[in-house]
Symmetry: C2
Amino acid sequence: MTPQGEDFSAWYNELVAKAQLVDRGPARGTMVIRPYGYRLWELLQAELDRRIKDTGHENAYFPMLIPESYLRREAEHVEGFSPELAVVTHAGGKELEEPLIVRPTSETIIGEMMAKWVSSHRDLPLLLNQWANVVRWELRPRMFLRTTEFLWQEGHTAHADEADAMRETMLALDLYTEVARDIAAIPVVPGEKTPGERFAGAVRTYTIEGMMRDGKALQAGTSHYMGTNFAEAFDIRYTSGTGRLEPCHTTSWGMTTRMIGAVIMTHGDDKGLVLPPRLAPYQVVVVPIGRGDQLERTSAAARELADRLKAAGVRAHVDDRAQLSPGFRFNDWELRGVPVRLELGPRDLESGTVVMVRRLGDEGKQSIPVSSAPDVIPGLLEEFQEFLLRRATAFRDGHTAAADSWDVFVEVVASGWASALHCGAPACEDDIKAKTAATPRCIPLDGAAETGRCVHCGEPSAYGKRVLFGRAY
Amino acid sequence: MTPQGEDFSAWYNELVAKAQLVDRGPARGTMVIRPYGYRLWELLQAELDRRIKDTGHENAYFPMLIPESYLRREAEHVEGFSPELAVVTHAGGKELEEPLIVRPTSETIIGEMMAKWVSSHRDLPLLLNQWANVVRWELRPRMFLRTTEFLWQEGHTAHADEADAMRETMLALDLYTEVARDIAAIPVVPGEKTPGERFAGAVRTYTIEGMMRDGKALQAGTSHYMGTNFAEAFDIRYTSGTGRLEPCHTTSWGMTTRMIGAVIMTHGDDKGLVLPPRLAPYQVVVVPIGRGDQLERTSAAARELADRLKAAGVRAHVDDRAQLSPGFRFNDWELRGVPVRLELGPRDLESGTVVMVRRLGDEGKQSIPVSSAPDVIPGLLEEFQEFLLRRATAFRDGHTAAADSWDVFVEVVASGWASALHCGAPACEDDIKAKTAATPRCIPLDGAAETGRCVHCGEPSAYGKRVLFGRAY
């Protein structure tokens, strides 16, 4: 496999295929998510879905095919999405009177339904979520990161006023920050997007940004406050307690299969994937060693050990593929990022021990009593999870620097993120991008109050705090 | 609401809307699955997904957009699906060189990928499953039963030989039978389809058939043995242990959101839905009664009771909508099919009791000590689940009869199912359908060996056993 340092992009493309996460689909930019990749998605999905439900949202499902006219009702929205649409023009053997769009996102069709369902202030807030596939035509596809079809959840909510809608917008951002940090071990930075980077139709867009191991930023989830833009366009109105007809304030927020790409590029190394235990399809793989009769005995012991690990709540797997050498199997599970490998040979059987190897973070092998494995492993997995978050945080912080001059800015964004004051002018953002490929990733929520001069043009700074700049996926 | 006996179809259409299960989508034949309906689907999905995984299958995800040419590779398959296809002809602002089909089912694209993934007998069996949306253009849509877009799981597996593929085909049918019976309380009849009712491209098709309360049959899940049809069309081959290149034998099997329609029409009555506890979004609803201060006290007690029920593993909900009368709320939850209602008024508070009302199966109200509710309710829900299955089984058996003459056949299929000998000729099936609207639903797996004369044409019977005929959805 190409080393990260030589060509990060080649490393990524080779790894997602070799680790059997994904395969190319036949239609442009589509992907097949293979079982190992899909299991990662399922585990992430379960964590996110539980939090979405615990905070009072309900799942629903809306049609994928949307009349073209719906998209035209919100001017910025249609402008933003038009170049990416896939259009059904024929169905049931006939040309359709009105073409149908394959949803690129569902604000419009959900807005149409919200208008039917909301009439009184008692119907608010309306807190909906959908797990679905969406299609956005991609000219430069990258597996997981930018694919023509991807999977996601999209939250859509309606509220009586701005304050309640903004509380919701920030709640969703908090959920994403928590899932990214606590489950995917990615120390994302939550913040607001500058106006130029807003979602098509939003009043304010918030994002979580993660740093990949090449120093680039990846937007890993977004949350939008729509104001009354969609409520006006789709007539989502309610009668207030005083009997007045008012437009709702709406939000939307999404996290996608792109998160799998974020996990790969945050933790992976030249040996392959490194999976956080909470997302790892297999947290432990037990590899029995030996030939013939010996392999039968070590395999039986491996299965017994795996069963005891499963009973202790560990996702364990036995790799007893007799046609493959132990070394091949060790490398294979390193490539596929399993946090802990247990090797079980004939001599281990005799001594009642098992050889334990962590995917990262310590050197060499350790022999432990096989009887203690179910007690030892869960704690080890927790430590490994925390280790990955610490390591990624250190990497992020080591590649982030304040930039108070243009020279420093240019140097910092070549390999990481620059924290800089900016004037807020879109034209100045464009200039910076043209010169350095860096864009404003976000205005971090926890940034300290600060004003001064724009790092690029010298005009007075906007936002009252620093902006994080970096090259991005 | 229109009574079932007056117009079953009107009853169904009104109920799915009033119970807030579903709403019409804007594109022809599409549906919006509202939170209450979607929760039913999620609960069914969880039960089915667990069984699919426990039997060694892995979930994956394949692109929704399939090149038109793929569908043409299996002659019967394309013939069967062509009239129902939705076609993407434009994307990214341009006309596509080759149109893309929105998947009506995924045999073709999964076949193409299986061909890449299978090379040795060691790669078999390959046991995949996908949860997805599919589109089949519907000219006569009915919510849940026949919609242009629906949700389903589709299992797709590849095997070394017919015996293994047939074992898989029957395993999937068993899973469906078990989920329908034990979770949805629908006593389905598993059996084989006659050749005229086979899936497009299958060698053998199996089905589970449920009887709705109007005596009609509903196909609630199907499992297909494809022989080597798709393996030959997509070049899914493996090298056997002796080094020969052999085509795989494949299967596919699916269960859909149609199952929600089956639940509604198997158990519902003139008051509304009747939900089996294992699928009910709320198994118990607690309705506090009173005005002003009283309502605050009963509501607090209701929430405490609901929390204790939840701790006992019961899905409980408190309906404290102060603007609605108790009677309105009682009717609302009857309409929405909640198995058990608990009423909590000021006098109940004083006496430490709660009034318990079952949705069906006993008369009147029962007062129980509120402290005993968490102990009593789980058993009551189990009993209710069993009661629904018993009632549906009695209904099915009461509306199924052997028919050994044409006159009896005609009478039986007017209100239920006829078990009859049939010659197996497609033309004779067509005649029966033209005269009675009844079709062969299946050749039940557990049917006793029997031969004789066709109930319609008098020719010698086929299949070696009786066929179940009925009108169908």
